[in-house]
Amino acid sequence: MLKQTPLNPIHRAAGARMVDFGGWDMPVNYGSQIEEHHAVRRDAGMFDVSHMRVVDLEGAGARAFLHHALANNVDKLKDPGKALYSCLLKPDGTVIDDLIVYFLREDFFRLVVNAGTADKDIAWFRRLLAERAPTLALTPRADLAMIAVQGPNARAKVWRALPGSERVSSALKPFSAARMDSDAGEVFIARTGYTGEDGFEIVVPATKAAALWQALTAAGVRPAGLGARDTLRLEAGMNLYGQDMDETVSPLESGLAWTVDLASPRDFVGKAALLARPPARQLIGLVLVDKGGVPRTHQLVRTGHGDGEITSGTFSPTLNQSIALARLPAGVAPGDTVRVVVRDRELAARVVKPPFARNGAARVAPAP
């Protein structure tokens, strides 16, 4: 039996095509996935991301615990509301999940983790807590729903749809969050997202999600499904857990070295393993030069430095050509030409540094 978000009846009534995503019954597209993609790059779109799990960590010593548990350094979080992207690593340096952590108070941090990994993450945190910080309270918030509103006009449309939201969120810097009490209960507004566009991720009580969705629809925000969410995040050069990294690879071989704090003397789970094993591979971008198909996960990539593989591939609506993230040998560099094996053919691709597109525009030169 698939799990359903509080917005499930709205998706079904809108005629969305539904898929099983990590055990959840989720909309993949309502109409044209490409039009939903363009709506986010050019105006404003919204995604039901209530399947993602909010987990609150409360108690004295919360920061010190996260210091040990996360690969990124929570000391970067100085002002209340500030957010940090981090990997959660196993002792062997591979990736349990990627998450966002919000610093709300010294004794209150909020984590947002992926849907398919939430139970595993919570079990892992509970184990670490039992060893190191048994007095901290870890609370999965299944009572909450989350809507991501993304696009150049997203913030203005949220302010129109959600009374009082402009006052608390107009001064928010990117990767920061604010809270407010409203008729809808406590509303958590974060200037974060997974599309490469400006916008908010809004957390509300599950019982209030449908009313917010309808208010956003009335304000001209277009519903978009997981299909557009995937093409948007891939254009923005953002990893998808389970495809671009998982428990078989290190973050240093997943384009995430910038999120791993190896510089400070701080110790954290996985650090020793990362230091002991320098990366031999890298996650990097490809733009297909030859026409002939769309690269897909696990397809072989031939390079002058040995073989690699596609981790995520798609057709980019912004570039109007096929793009991919690929895990390739360390010697490959931007500007190189490699060959992607698509069905019975080898298609030439140019190596680029992601992102491919952000803030409404291409970030890489088009193929000739």
Binding site: R17, S32, V294, F315, R343
Partner: protein, 127 residues
């Protein structure tokens, strides 16, 4: 779901229309295009290629996935539609106006044995 009564169908979601000259036009059904989503790439068989019935001979690829297209009957490919290879979104807009390729069937019995509209409709009930 749009399933025109004047066409024949396969269980693998191709539609087949017999033309005045005895050739058959082949496309994918409205159900198939809706399931695939926005199409971005089509790979069609070479003109002159001889196909066995149910042989994989073309690929329709959407943002989400690639899917094979099968020859509904045995025969020879006599034409491909270059308009849809240039603009695959036409298949999403009108699947039955967007033929992919034409074949000259090896024998007339092949087409007669395909599904009619109600029979095709019945196969969708299971999905």
């Amino acid at each position: 779901m749009n399933i025109p009564a004047n066409l024949k169908y396969t269980t693998s979601h191709e539609w087949v229309r017999t033309e005045a000259d005895g050739t058959v036009s082949i496309g994918i059904t409205d159900h198939a295009q809706a399931a695939l989503g926005d199409l971005v790439y089509l790979e069609l068989p070479a003109v002159g290629r001889k196909l066995a019935a149910a042989e994989a001979c073309a690929v329709v690829e959407s943002v989400k996935a690639a899917s094979d297209v099968y020859a509904p009957v045995a025969g020879e490919v006599v034409a491909v539609n270059s308009e849809v290879t240039e603009a695959p979104e036409h298949v999403n807009k009108d699947a039955y106006a967007s033929w992919l390729f034409r074949m000259r069937p090896a024998d007339a019995a092949g087409v007669a044995g395909l599904l009619d509209a109600p029979a095709y409709q019945a196969t969708l009930g299971d999905e």
